[in-house]
């Protein structure tokens, strides 16, 4: 069975705002499947006594004090922006509401 379906690839492409043609969907679904199957081999090694992990280093509570540190000037901050207006990043309109927070 495929690790990722053609429909799932289409869904991901839509979420990523990528225009993908029907032919590309076939290609990418196939390629991604090979990659995922390879990664899935790790799962065969994982046993019940090995908890899932998100960090390879056993560290906790790395915190900083609440002290202001100088950041970038607006000029520096905007220097890499594709477009700028009124000292703000200018981006194309996104047809959605604020989805976060």
């Amino acid at each position: 069975m495929a690790a990722i379906s053609r429909e799932e690839v289409a869904h991901l492409a839509r979420l990523s705002r990528l225009a993908v043609t029907e032919e590309e969907l076939d290609t990418f679904a196939g390629q991604l499947d090979v990659i995922l199957q390879a990664v899935a081999q790790v799962g065969e090694v994982a046993a019940a006594d090995i908890p899932p992990t998100s960090h390879s280093v056993p560290l906790t509570n790395v915190l900083r004090e609440d002290v202001v540190v100088p950041g970038l000037t607006p000029q520096e901050a905007l220097s890499g922006a594709p477009d700028v207006a009124e000292q703000r990043f200018r981006v194309p309109r996104i047809l959605d509401e604020d989805v976060a927070s």
Partner: protein, 499 residues
């Protein structure tokens, strides 16, 4: 939609509401959640940014200890369990308000969970379950331009300011609250009010709804008695305590009218309209929201040890409900009187006025009387009226010393509200002090007697009640700056009558 809405009484007689609230609080830390950028409100666009909050390649976030502590304290104040181990998560989405294309949040491992907050509604205690309290980062501000209205519809591009992006944001989510019936809107408001007071007492945020440091989303559903809970809608854009109440009520009415007509409620996000008090549908989600949460690999897990949590718990301040109960006893108020103090938003103001030397009765009189009346007339919060507790206490000192009578004190207070200075300054500058010079008063009394011989005769013949007219005349010539009781005594004395 021009459907006539059913009456509220009918709606709550037929349906049972279930409410739920999600509240976002911007923490008042000096720096952002994961970088050292300052957080002060305002400022030119993109002046409080750095590689971390701009998501530039190679930058790494480090969590702010003060924000973690503030969140644990909120959790403790809300009777939550504090996680012994938890992680941040990436919430992925494509919208330019976060430059990283994801927001660092918490997902299935919130820092605090399973608590409650007791709120008082109509003298009854209602326990609101708290599902979770978690930490995340706030988003940037987008300005939609190119369209005619500056709103997102019709805009052709967005301008983004990342000053707010990365500010520590705490999300507090209640469990669904069933069983409040007709009181549902009031319960929602009471919860947000109490939560705001708790947060303020903890000193973790300035909790100003108007400036967006406290933001509220309200979930509402209706069901028939005995049936399963209905489909809920989420109302956003609720920016004042009054709006919380109105939003629940209006959504209950709208849903009832849909259900009455045999329709179904759609699970959607709606926006509260401040002007009409109604909710409007927002854009429905393109597909089922898929944020592809995963543990944030750039941050290590958080494991607050028991000693740290115990230390934070021991240092919690007295919580508002207990604090209010103590004040009520100290001030000797009935439940009803205390309720009117609460409704006026005057608890702290009276408390501070008493601390500045006034008696509780005098402090309450000014804040609930003259100042509340003016606040209502001008539509501002009592706390923003322009008079400080210290000034009110000073005013009362002048009254107690006999320098101001009640009427003059009101005039002085008007001056204070208008920003003319301290009560003493206003009294002196405007010459409002009570005329205590008996010589001057006697002259005014004699003048009044001479001008009203008929009345004077009546009083001489024993009709003491007629003295009022002469007192009035004297008050008029002294522009109200005399003590009426003293004037009356003088009038009777000059005419040889007995009071």
């Amino acid at each position: 939609m021009t459907t006539t809405l059913p009456a509220y009484d009918e709606v709550v007689a037929r349906y049972e509401p279930v409410i739920g609230l999600e509240t976002h609080v911007e923490l008042g830390t000096n720096t952002k959640m994961f970088c050292g950028c300052p957080t002060d409100f305002g400022g030119e666009p993109n002046t409080r940014v750095c590689p971390v909050c701009l998501g530039l390649p190679g930058s790494l976030p480090v969590a702010n200890k003060a924000a973690i502590e503030a969140t644990i304290r909120i959790g403790l104040a809300l009777n939550c369990s504090i996680a012994q181990w938890c992680r941040f998560a990436r919430k992925n989405y494509f919208y330019p308000d976060m430059p990283k294309d994801f927001q660092i949040s918490q997902y299935d491992e919130p820092l605090c969970s399973e608590g409650y907050l007791d709120v008082e509604v109509g003298g009854e205690l209602v326990r609101i379950g708290i599902e979770r309290v978690h930490l995340e980062e706030d988003t940037g501000k987008t300005l939609h331009v190119g369209g005619a209205t500056g709103r997102i519809h019709g805009a052709t591009e967005s301008l983004v300011d990342y000053n707010r992006a990365g500010i520590a944001l705490v999300e507090i989510v209640t469990k669904p609250v069933p069983g409040t019936g007709a009181l549902a809107p009031e319960v929602a408001r009471a919860y947000v009010t109490e939560l705001r007071d708790v947060l303020r007492s903890l000193g973790v945020s300035d909790v100003r709804m108007e400036e967006g440091s406290l933001r509220c989303d309200v979930n509402t559903s209706l069901n028939l008695p005995g049936e399963e809970w209905g489909t809920r809608t989420e109302t956003k854009n609720v920016n004042s305590l009054r709006s919380v109440e109105r939003a629940v009520r209006s959504e209950m009415l709208r849903q009832a009218s849909v259900l009455d007509a045999g329709g179904r409620i759609i699970q959607e996000t709606r926006h509260f309209q401040e002007d009409t008090g109604e909710t409007r549908p927002g854009r429905s989600k393109e597909t089922a929201t898929d944020y592809r949460y995963f543990p944030e690999p750039d941050l290590v897990p958080l494991a607050p040890d028991t000693a740290w949590v115990a230390e934070l718990k021991a240092a919690l301040p007295e919580l508002p409900r207990l604090h209010r109960r103590r004040l009520q006893e100290q001030w000797g108020l009935s439940d009803l009187d205390m309720q009117s103090v609460l409704n006026a938003g005057a608890v702290e103001l009276i408390e501070q006025t008493v601390a500045a030397g006034a008696t509780p009765a005098a402090a309450r009189k000014w804040w609930l009387g003259e100042l509340s009346r003016r606040a209502n007339e001008t539509g501002v919060e009592l706390a923003d009226i322009g008079a400080t507790p210290a000034q009110v206490a000073e005013l009362q000192v002048l009254v107690d010393a006999g320098k101001l009578n009640d009427k003059l004190a009101r005039t002085v207070l008007e001056g204070v509200v208008a920003g003319e200075g301290s009560p003493t300054e206003i009294m002196t500058n405007r010459g409002l002090e009570v005329v205590s010079d008996t010589g001057a008063l006697t002259a005014a009394v004699d003048e009044a007697i001479a001008a009203n011989p008929d009345i004077a005769d009546k009083i001489r013949s024993g009709k003491v009640a007629a003295a009022g007219a002469l007192v009035g005349a004297v008050m008029k010539t002294t522009r109200g700056q005399a003590d009426a009781k003293t004037v009356r005594e003088l009038v009777l004395e000059r005419l040889g009558a007995q009071g």
